[in-house]
Amino acid sequence: MAEKVLKKPRSFYDIYERNPSADKKMPHYCPGCGHGNVHKFIAEALDDFDVADRTIFISPVGCSVFAYYYFDTGNIQAAHGRAPAVATGIKRAHPHSIVISYQGDGDLAAIGTAEILHAANRGENITVFFINNAIYGMTGGQMAPTTIVGQKTTTTPYGRRPQNEGYPVKIAELISQLEAPVYVERVALFDNKHRAKARMAVRKAIKNQVDNLGFSLVEVLSPCPSGWKMDPVDAMHWIEEEMVKVFPLGVYKDITKEVEPYHIEEFKPEAEEIKELLDLKTESKSFARSTVPEKYKNPEIKIAGFGGQGVLLLGAALAQAGMLQDYHVSWLPSYGPEMRGGTANCHVNIREIEIGSPVVANPSILIALNRPSLEKFEPDVQSGGLIIYDSSLIDIEPSRKDVEILAIPSTKMADELGNTRIANMVVLGAIAGYTNFFDLKTLFETLNTAIKRKNLIEINRKAVETGYQFGKEHRVK
């Protein structure tokens, strides 16, 4: 007959060096506490599946916050209730690791309700052990979300009353309603038979993760003689007689035979591929600057109109063209409260030297594509500046006498070209033609970047060209 050697699982440290207490061989838990049982089941399972080396154990606030004294695994101590989120983080960073979130009732079912629900709902490939002892053990016996009706605690000195505190939260039932979790079971620790069942549940929950099956949760009804102010034997009876009535034992969900294991393919692109994937593979193009009359240099441009008129794109195209000619440029869209009411505007600076504020409060060039914009911004234009407006849509004329005015029926021109939506590009051409700021070559290159749909580039080129001729013909002599 083989000799059976009884010893500590290898997944525990031999000596608990991290425990500040003088005795480095004894755990810090109280006599009769259930944590020791569950710790042992976990350590044995880690041994048997030979995964302790790649296990990362997460211990949030509660008596088990010091689980890192014992487990010879990677250890993370986490904030109260946040262990499932921390587990998500490390599991996503290192998917091959075995991540265990070990939580008490206050942690999991009160302050961390959101974290557990959503980690479960995402089907994180982690294992959660939920120690339900119906009390806050660590802080000295206050009410837990799982405290049963009538149970006296330091914060329910007259017993838990549903009228005031509601009913105990049933986690196994709750989590098993979600689609993603693969395995949810509630077990208890009150006698050998049930401890053996608990041990099997712990093993299965860990094995599920080793097999990449998904999210498992085991709820353990566990004794807390200190918190309950009972001796350990009475505590066992209390689980059997009182707790089990409220928290029925059993498998609440098991779809482990039906689900496909996760497959995580690691992809580590090289430098060149990364640039490609980030759309950063662009040629450095540079175009010669045109000879620009002094008054049009360093324009501060405001473009305004209805949403849908391509106001932002027109601004972006101007900035893009400026960039191609190595100017300093900035583009700022209307932002915040300004955005309301269906109007859009943007601010563009094209400057020979560095741009300070990107905000254009007093434009040197105002492009107004609808009447409200013209009325609103006309007074702000710098004296000697330029107003360009769509005379096919705006039925008034600017009243300023100290500025240049270019009235262009851009919408009508766009219609004649066959597409109302290119009116903005007619205007782009017109500004360039009128001020001689950009040549057509630069504008055409701009379209290659600004227009995402390649089949629209041709018609936009026509728009720019038509606008350019119009602008050129209307230059001030």
Binding site: A52, A79, G89, A93, I98, L278, S357
Partner: protein
């Protein structure tokens, strides 16, 4: 690579990925959502993970988890969301975990509004959560700096094992400017403190618990030494026309852009003005300020807040010259004109 015309919120994500960030956890909030959206677009392409968390608190704790694994990880939010994250940042500071948090500030307190403010200065620069900690804070003022600073943020985070903030506002995020992106970083060191889910790293413990008062005090002293080292090595600022300046304008982020134009205009009118623009808010350019305070007539600090950075300026000036403050709140960006008028009045006084 050529220059690209991109938004600040885009530049910061692509910059982060170039810096080697492959994991992002976040919760949507205006005006920071574009950062999450851009991360959601690009991270899966390069073999990374983007995850929209159930809450700000969950997202910072996911960051805590991934940071424990020694990978480059980030999150982004805006002011009310940052308030929620403070618990997690305190834990990360205590456990000395490198990670990067972007705050695209908006108007407060409470729900406030979504327009740009700079009223998070105190909660970001002074620690923010519980405990004796501070985080390096970088304040970009252009799309280019959004890309550059996020990369620097990861480097600093790892060098000093600390959370690092990039503090910015809706304007810098929304603005498009030409950006020259750097080269991708592809090799990463293995840290002796991190958890990789293997035998070599399993002895490591990520924790902020020190039960014994002496131990916790020693841990705190160690943190303070680290912050002193950061103060000694990592101060960054821009000096714009300070050499002969009589009035020093100070501001960061979008405000400093306005101030640059104000300085130009003041100079045109014969006023000797200069701009001191902190690029790092912690560490703060205290020495430079103290040195200027010896020889200039005045400081004018401009913020989109009730005056938060100005306190640090006053501490550094230490009564050597007057420190004036001009602030706008509620999402109003001070215009060049109003600051110009205010500065002129101050110089006449």
């Amino acid at each position: 690579m050529g220059k690209l015309l991109v938004k600040g919120n885009d530049a910061i994500v692509r910059g982060a990925i170039l810096a080697g960030c492959r994991v992002y956890f976040g919760y949507p909030i205006t005006p920071a959502s574009e950062i999450a959206e851009t991360a959601a677009k690009y991270l899966p392409k390069v073999g990374g993970t983007f995850l929209q968390a159930e809450s700000e608190i969950a997202s910072i704790n996911m960051v805590y988890g991934a940071a424990s694994g020694g990978v480059r990880v980030m999150t982004a939010s805006s002011s009310p969301g940052i308030s929620l994250k403070q618990e997690g940042v305190s834990y990360a500071a205590g456990a000395e975990l490198p990670c990067v948090i972007v705050d695209v500030m908006r108007g407060g307190p409470g729900l406030g509004n979504i327009a740009p403010e700079q009223s998070d200065y105190n909660q970001i620069v002074k620690g923010g959560g519980h405990g004796n900690y501070k985080c390096p804070v970088l304040a970009p003022y252009s799309a280019q700096e959004m890309s550059d600073f996020i990369q620097l943020a990861f480097d600093l985070a790892e060098k000093y094992r600390t959370p690092v903030y990039v503090l910015t506002d809706g304007y810098i995020g929304q603005m498009m400017e030409p950006v020259e992106f750097g080269e991708p970083k592809t090799d990463f060191p293995r840290f002796d403190w991190a958890l990789y889910g293997d035998a070599e790293s399993k002895q490591n413990l990520i924790s902020s618990i020190y039960l014994e008062p002496d131990e916790l005090e020693e841990h705190n002293r160690k943190l303070q030494r680290k912050y002193a080292e950061i103060e000694a090595n990592e101060v960054r600022f821009e000096d714009f026309m300070l050499e002969d300046a009589e009035i020093v304008l100070m501001g960061y982020g979008i405000v400093s852009r306005v101030l640059k134009t104000v300085v130009e205009k003041l100079r045109e009118e014969g006023v000797k003005a200069g701009l001191l623009r902190p690029k790092t808010l912690f560490p703060f350019p205290k020495k430079k300020i103290a040195e200027l305070a010896q020889r200039v007539k005045k400081f004018l600090v401009v913020e989109m807040s009730n005056g938060q950075m100005v306190d640090d300026v006053r501490l550094a000036v230490n009564g050597k010259c007057p420190v004036e403050f001009y602030g706008r709140m509620g999402g109003n960006v001070p215009t060049m004109k109003e600051v110009l008028e205010h500065s002129k009045k101050l110089m006449e006084a």
